[in-house]
């Protein structure tokens, strides 16, 4: 533990000297801040309103309705928050967000591309009068969460496959013939019970993507792996026969390398576009698609690092102490490989954000009614006089992507202990 904090302290010490990287870290932190506070910074509902002696917090309300005691009629009313025209009320006190507009909501007063003005729409409006700044603020949320969530998926896949390939290499994974063949045989029932039997539940993913269906997918995956593990142990039962008990090398590294090679050969953007054309456009689908296609770099880093440390003293001594493979990977091998993989993850977030904004620029990917940086830019393409629709969203994408790239670059330099000499 002590050693780890020493390493991170050293990385930080070197990272701090890198001015561009440090600045981009602060830029990203402020973007993250904006993303988290988006509904408070830009909303068409007041943060606080006092009306007829009653106090409401519409922007913070989690329920869709509020109970309202109407003094004029003397009746209790339930108000649907999204349907009340808060701007027309004459309240006693009110406090509005910094930008009192919701992204995509039209403002008839300033329709038809009104230019930026310091009075109402700070960065101008789109064709239907929707506020650009508000769209940018909420777009931060979408871009950052797609970038981070998809790389989370990619990291999981990349780390698992990278560990498998790097730790076992081509010669160190030995299983008995029985287990080997039983596992291959197990793929069929595993697929059957994991995916075929549950196909009606799973097809919901395409129709109505969301957390619930993601859970269904996970469940299928767990069933799949469970059955394969079951077959593995069943294969151990075959060890009584000498033929099946004979050890067989599994070329873990070659298998994973081939998979990586195939994935790298596929034009990623076109694959994503093709899948996005077939699946229903949604936030979750986009995260899944980007995540499943961008793990290769992470897997390569982890694999290379583990192959390098495979013969290091501390790994050999853990072998000698009889620790299980899983424990050695998780406690000794992986922590050292995570650092270089972080760099790949940071670069990956940048490219995921680029892919997302490129897709929404084409009108594919996230649903049409969701305002993103890319969709704002797309709206700007229709009318070049509305330069604010082109310049500001593009600047936001550029700033975020550059910051992530600079951050990744800074991290790489800071972690490169060798190069420091």
């Amino acid at each position: 533990m002590k050693e780890k904090s020493f390493f991170s302290g050293m990385v930080w010490k070197h990272f701090r000297k890198n001015k561009p990287a440090l600045i981009s870290l602060y830029v990203l932190l402020s973007f993250l801040f904006v993303a988290l506070l988006a509904p408070i910074l830009a909303n068409d509902k007041p943060l606080y309103i006092s009306y007829q002696g009653q106090v409401f917090f519409p922007a913070f309300s989690f329920s869709k309705t509020i109970l309202f005691d109407n003094k004029e009629t003397g009746k209790k009313e339930t108000l649907v928050i999204s349907q009340v025209d808060w701007k027309k009320l004459k309240p006693d006190h009110e406090l509005w967000p910094l930008i009192p507009f919701y992204p995509g909501k039209s403002d008839p007063l300033h329709a038809d591309y009104s230019p930026p003005s310091p009075v109402n729409h700070f960065l101008g409006t789109a064709k239907n009068g929707a506020d650009v700044l508000s769209g940018l603020i909420h777009g931060t949320r979408i871009s950052l969460s797609i970038g981070i969530l998809s790389m989370l998926i990619a990291s999981i896949i990349g780390i698992v496959l990278g560990c498998f390939a790097g730790y076992f290499g081509d010669h160190h994974l030995l299983v008995t013939r029985g287990s080997y063949w039983m596992m291959i045989l197990g793929i069929f029932p595993a697929y059957f019970y994991g995916f075929y039997v549950r196909s009606s539940e799973l097809s919901e993913i395409l129709r109505e993507p969301g957390i619930g269906t993601l859970f269904q997918f996970k469940l299928s995956f767990i069933i799949f792996t469970g059955i394969i593990i079951l077959f593995y142990y069943a294969g151990k039962g075959l060890n009584r026969f000498p033929f099946f008990a004979e050890k067989k090398t599994v070329h873990a590294d070659s298998i994973v390398s081939r998979i990586i090679e195939v994935f790298v050969s596929i034009p990623r953007l076109i694959l994503i576009i093709s899948i996005a054309a077939i699946a229903k456009p949604s936030f979750f689908n986009l995260v899944l698609i980007i995540g499943f296609t961008s793990w290769t770099e992470i897997a390569r880093f982890i694999r290379a690092e583990l192959l390098r440390t495979r013969n290091a003293g501390y790994i050999e001594s853990s072998h000698a102490m009889g620790f299980s493979d899983l424990r050695i990977i998780l406690k000794h091998a992986l922590p050292n490989a995570i650092a270089p993989a972080t760099v790949a993850i940071v670069f990956g977030i940048a490219s995921a954000i680029l892919v997302e904004s490129g897709l929404s620029f084409l009108g594919i990917g996230v649903p049409q009614d969701v305002v993103t940086w890319g969709s704002l830019l797309f709206a700007g393409k229709e009318n070049f006089e509305a330069w604010w629709l082109v310049v500001f969203p593009g600047l936001a994408i550029f700033l975020t992507v550059t910051s992530f790239n600079l951050l990744g670059d800074g991290l790489r330099d800071a972690m490169d202990v060798k190069g420091r000499g």
Binding site: F188, I266, P267, I270, A277, L362
Partner: protein, 493 residues
């Protein structure tokens, strides 16, 4: 060397197979019924004869598209689901049937029910109006009722809800009892009803949990890949028929691939032409002002989203309100080339259209390439043989361009493989912004029209091109550095 190339070529095959498999999975899972898409032009419902024509057409297209075959070499299914399900030509019908089986599991009863249903329809279709007296009005009623009932029966093929099925059967009964000449045939309806009740009475859901595997030598994937009497198959360049134009896809692509390749190759050329001297200069004067500034600029170029730059360029240089220097879209004058224009005239006319797209294609790979060049040059410059060259008193120019360049080129050559797919992917965005009639804009238009054979064809082709890029760069690498053995190369992949 020859052995290496041979093995590299052999590796090409499984990767290619995986790409075709992914394409095929995309194609099979695409929403909508392809047969329906092909038939839309000639669809009009109602009359008896028309529906016969329609059925014939459906059968024709199903066979022509190869959809009357099983999907893959093998299929994993449950004991309940018959492996001949694919023979049902209508996709919606097929889905209802398989859902029915999932719910009750007694496939024999379910199939019998569907058979009874089609027997009933055939019976009613075959019947002429046999009313004895005041024929005209009764027969009119009968015909209009029959049309209404046909609608009801078609609902039978899209629902598995027992209540609504019972209701339809009840309606059928009343319809049969309404007319004397139909009343005699009531046994057909009773048969249907009994069959349906049988399904409900003896569900065998356990059958859904018993896995089965069946093999099919002749299947859709095989046909799609290798073709049969009707199609040549993907391997011989037959990508199927476009849903949109009903023309062969490869004919539509043939005219488009040229422009995509043109832009990619031209910009790769420019990127290399510019990045090599840039990288060398930056590396030769490491940490100088030139190095720092150029690195910073290149880094920013690398992060600039290409669609933003393209839009900004269009906004600035082909906007009638700003500088109207370049045309906004297309690759040749709207009126086309003059009839007597030679090649040089054509190039002259097209040039203004090509400049902005080429800049966009080039700049991001330029940034990437010069960064790689700089790093590789720095590494070479720190090596002993360069020190020796300098110690010999060779001029710096000669050290850089003669000794160092050749050795530092290697990584830059291999990066070709990274640049190439990047450009192909970027082409979707760039081609649709600049309305270049290439493969990228084709895939964009096809997505709008949900023309899946086209999408899949473009995907497969770009995948193949990307793989070719890797192949070329690997071979170049091996050719430039004979020390590289096959195993080393794959570990770098």
């Amino acid at each position: 060397m020859r052995k290496y190339m041979l093995r590299r070529l052999l590796l090409f095959i499984p990767t290619f197979m995986v790409i075709t498999l992914i394409s095929f999975i995309l194609l099979v899972n695409a929403p909508g019924d392809p047969v329906e898409r092909m038939m839309t032009a000639s669809q009009s419902s109602g009359d008896n004869t028309q529906s016969v024509v329609q059925q014939e057409q459906r059968a024709y297209w199903t066979h022509r598209l190869g959809l009357d075959l099983p999907v893959f070499y093998f299929s994993i299914h449950s004991l309940a689901e018959p492996d001949t399900l694919y023979r049902i030509p209508n996709k919606a019908e097929r889905n209802t049937l398989s859902q029915f089986i999932r719910e009750y599991g007694n496939e024999k009863e379910i199939l019998r029910f569907y058979a009874a249903e089609s027997a009933l329809e055939k019976k009613v279709d075959g019947l002429a109006c046999l009313a004895a007296d005041d024929t005209v009005t009764v027969c009119d009623h009968f015909n209009s009722d029959r049309v209404a009932m046909r609608m009801e029966w078609s609902k039978l093929k899209s629902t598995t809800n027992p209540e609504s099925i019972r209701l339809i059967i009840q309606n059928t009964k009343t319809f049969f009892l309404k007319y004397d000449f139909l009343g005699k045939e009531i046994s057909v309806v009773e048969n249907l009803e009994n069959n349906f009740e049988d399904i409900l009475r003896h569900p065998q859901t356990w059958k859904n949990y018993i896995p089965c595997i069946s093999f099919h030598a002749n299947n859709q994937y095989h046909r799609w890949l290798f073709g049969d009497g009707q199609s040549n198959g993907l391997l011989r360049g037959d990508f199927g028929i476009s849903y949109l134009t009903k023309q062969p896809v490869e004919e539509m692509i043939r005219g488009k691939i040229g422009w995509s390749l043109f832009f990619t190759l031209v910009s790769v050329f420019f990127a290399y032409l510019l990045s090599i001297p840039l990288g060398i200069k930056a590396a030769a004067k490491k940490d100088s002002r030139f190095d720092r500034i150029s690195s910073m600029i290149l880094f920013m170029l690398y992060s600039l989203p290409v669609f933003w730059v393209a839009t900004l360029l269009l906004m600035t240089f082909s906007n009638t309100d700003a500088f109207h220097i370049f045309p906004a879209s297309g690759i040749k004058p709207v009126t086309g080339y003059p009839v007597d224009a030679g090649l040089i005239d054509k190039i002259k006319l097209s040039l203004p259209y090509l400049i902005l797209p080429t800049i966009c294609y080039t700049y991001s790979s330029l940034a990437f390439l010069s960064r790689t060049m700089r790093v590789s040059m720095l590494e070479i410059l720190s090596q002993d043989f360069i020190r020796t060259a300098r110690a010999k008193g060779l001029p710096e120019h000669s050290v850089l361009w003669k000794h160092a360049l050749r050795n530092s080129l290697l990584p830059v050559i291999t990066v070709f493989a990274n640049v190439f797919p990047y450009m192909i992917g970027g082409s979707v965005i760039l081609e649709s912004i600049f309305t270049i009639p290439g493969m990228g804009s084709q895939i964009y238009n096809s997505i709008d029209a949900q023309d899946f054979p086209m999408i899949v064809a473009v995907f497969t082709l770009t995948g193949m091109l990307t793989m070719l890029g890797y192949l070329v760069s690997d071979v170049l690498y091996a050719w430039a550095d004979p020390r590289i053995s096959f195993s080393e190369n794959t570990s770098a992949a």
